[in-house]
């Protein structure tokens, strides 16, 4: 932004950049760049051994720094000349993203499950592919790509102006498009998922950008606080404003996967390599909801009587369609995708509340949902037969008899999704619905409870299939490895702890929310 003043003022002074407050993002991006260098200069066999620790250490260091920022500095600050807001919600969301990304990284790094193609450029079914498969390597570019995506996810909800938000959105999405197409098995499916995700994602970000352009035309600035200020001045063109808000919302709702803009979600979740699905289903949703919270709470708060009816409709549709369509699914990843759509609806309920309790409830829900999701997808990667992951629900029949522990944990995750008491899902839903009811959205809460009931039906159906039907003779077996097991264990622990002892986390979310958004 400093080149704006370039032409106006004869002298340009360095803009203030608070590197210490931006450090978590800078560490992640730095690790990603070092990862690219490692791809270039480290010999192929040694790459995995370099990339995985590098990525893990980068994420862990960023997380430690975030914790330190949160507990010692308590920043309430718009850093980098106001482009990035470092405040309570930002730090909470960034911390959540980093932890979830570490868990997903454990799945991504799993070599025994060979989820990723050895060479993305080789044609499916060609000799080159056979050769590179036989070498036993994987495309180690996934690590830097993941780090770039995570960095974008951290920037997206922290952005304090719409341009930074757009850049964050793209930095988050572009690596994900590529990662989607890298599955080792069912490569055509995976590539198709990548094309669909890319075309629809680019389409939606074009909407986001045009919305930004219209809002810039309305307010003369893309800074969220400036838009909010322009709103309270109430001059300018209503048409520009409302069209801008609508187009911007399309872009944001697409990333959350809310209903009129959801069709990409099941396709992409099914086609992408399962570790990447875990990353998308947890971290991307957290980032997108975080960004939506900031936009609607900071920029459009004074306008809430105008956007609330629209968001009501979207939330209701999302909860109902997600829950109802999930019933007919026969593929486990597709079913989880529809379940994730329904959860997007619950999260929108928290956004609609536009209150401090709505904010803290949404933050808590994001953390709770993220852990359960990563855990559930981790188990999906473990259940395998000779052709790779056993995706079809029928193949899961009798899993409870063959490996009761894994099936039991999966059942527990499903119950958490359904929102049964003593799981994190219950606490999260309760908090969100309470906030929504306080905000006067009682019908929304009723729809939410109804949708939860419908959702419980298909979750329980999966549990019944796993425990009360005979296994097929060639039923898939459970392949357990150290890293995947760690991811499952951590997801399980978080789900239990947030369900039984939610208070510390609720307090943390509450604290983050009381700082509210910096303007």
């Amino acid at each position: 932004m400093n080149s704006v003043s370039v032409l106006a003022a004869p002298e340009i002074h360095a803009p203030p950049v608070e590197f210490s407050q931006l450090a978590p993002m800078l560490i992640v991006f730095g690790a990603a760049i070092v990862g690219v260098l490692a791809e270039a200069f480290v010999a192929r066999p040694a790459r995995y051994a370099v990339q995985f620790p590098l990525a893990l250490v980068g994420l862990a260091a960023a997380f430690c720094w975030t914790l330190w920022l949160g507990f010692s500095e308590k920043p309430q600050h718009a850093a980098a000349d106001g482009a990035v807001a470092v405040d309570g919600p930002t730090l909470f969301i960034q911390g959540t993203i980093l932890v979830l990304a570490m868990l997903s990284l454990l799945l991504i790094a799993e070599r025994a499950q060979d989820a990723f193609t050895a060479q993305a450029a080789a044609l499916p079914g060609s000799e080159a592919e056979q050769e590179s498969m036989a070498d036993g390597g994987i495309q180690t570019e996934i690590f830097p790509l993941t780090l770039f995506a995570v960095g974008g996810m951290m920037l997206f909800p922290a952005a304090n102006d719409l341009l930074t938000m757009f850049v964050g959105l793209e930095v988050m999405s572009l690596p994900l498009y590529l990662l989607c197409g890298l599955a080792r098995r069912r490569r055509l499916l995976s590539q198709e998922a990548a094309v669909k995700y890319f075309l629809l994602g680019a389409f939606s970000s074009a909407f986001f950008l045009y919305g930004t352009a219209l809002l810039y035309g309305y307010a003369g600035s893309v800074r969220l606080s400036a838009i909010s200020a322009a709103l309270s001045r109430s001059g300018g063109s209503e048409t520009l404003l409302l069209a801008g808000v609508a187009l911007l919302s399309v872009g944001l709702l697409f990333k959350i996967g809310a209903v009129p803009f959801h069709p990409w979600k099941p396709d992409v979740y099914q086609g992408a390599p399962t570790p990447i699905t875990a990353l998308m289903a947890s971290c991307t949703v957290v980032a997108a909801v975080g960004a939506a919270l900031r936009v609607f709470y900071v920029a459009f708060e004074t306008l809430r009587w105008d956007w609330r009816p629209m968001m009501w409709g979207v939330a209701i549709l999302t909860m109902m369609v997600g829950a109802i369509v999930a019933i007919t699914q026969t593929d486990i990843k597709r079913m989880l995708a529809y379940s994730s759509i329904a959860h997007g609806g619950f999260l929108l309920t928290g956004i609609v509340a536009t209150s401090e309790s709505g904010l803290s409830a949404t933050l808590f829900y994001l953390a709770a949902y993220g852990f359960t999701t990563v855990g559930a997808f981790a188990i999906v990667t473990m259940v395998r037969d000779t052709t790779g992951e056993a995706g079809h629900l029928g193949r899961w029949a009798g899993l409870g008899r063959r490996s009761p522990v894994i099936a039991g944990i999966f059942a527990f995750f499903l119950l958490a999704f359904a929102g049964i008491p003593l799981t994190s899902g219950f606490t999260g839903k309760f908090a969100v619905f309470q906030a929504a009811a306080d905000g006067g959205a009682v019908p929304l809460v009723i729809v939410g409870v109804l949708s939860s009931a419908i959702a419980a039906f298909f979750y329980v159906r999966v549990i019944v299939v796993m425990f009360f039907s005979e296994p097929e003779p060639d039923a898939p077996s459970v392949v357990t490895t150290a890293t995947t097991a760690t991811a499952v264990a951590l997801g399980l622990t978080a789900t239990v702890v947030l369900g039984v002892l939610p208070q510390p986390m609720l307090d943390l979310a509450g604290q983050a929310a009381t700082q509210l958004f910096v303007r």
């Binding site: 498009y177 990548a194 094309v195 075309l199 389409f203 893309v222």
Partner: protein
């Protein structure tokens, strides 16, 4: 103001193109058209409001669009090589 209207028209053409055209590359070009329509809007709003933010934003958008082109072409190329077709109708393995 005329430029804003022109940009709105371009945006609409792009959006319609995405919905109607079947070739992935053409769809993608329509998305680029939408991004450039946004750029035009940014620049003309910058002129109307008298601050230069919009022009700077246009630079950023161009860079992001270029990165998007690269990623998009790579993905479309891969699927084209494995299927010999870049029609979005042929991509139909993922269904409910």
């Amino acid at each position: 103001m005329n430029y804003v209207i022109l940009s709105a028209i371009l945006f609409t053409i792009g959006a319609l193109g995405v919905l109607i055209r079947r070739n992935a590359i053409v769809v993608f070009m329509c998305v680029e058209l939408m991004l450039n329509a946004a750029n035009l809007a940014f620049v003309s709003f910058a002129r109307m409001s008298g601050n230069l933010d919009g022009q700077v934003i246009a630079f950023f958008v161009m860079v992001v669009a270029a990165a998007e082109v690269v990623v998009g072409l790579a993905i479309i190329m891969t699927i084209f090589r494995s299927r010999r077709s870049s029609s979005v109708d042929d991509a139909n393995l993922l269904k409910y």
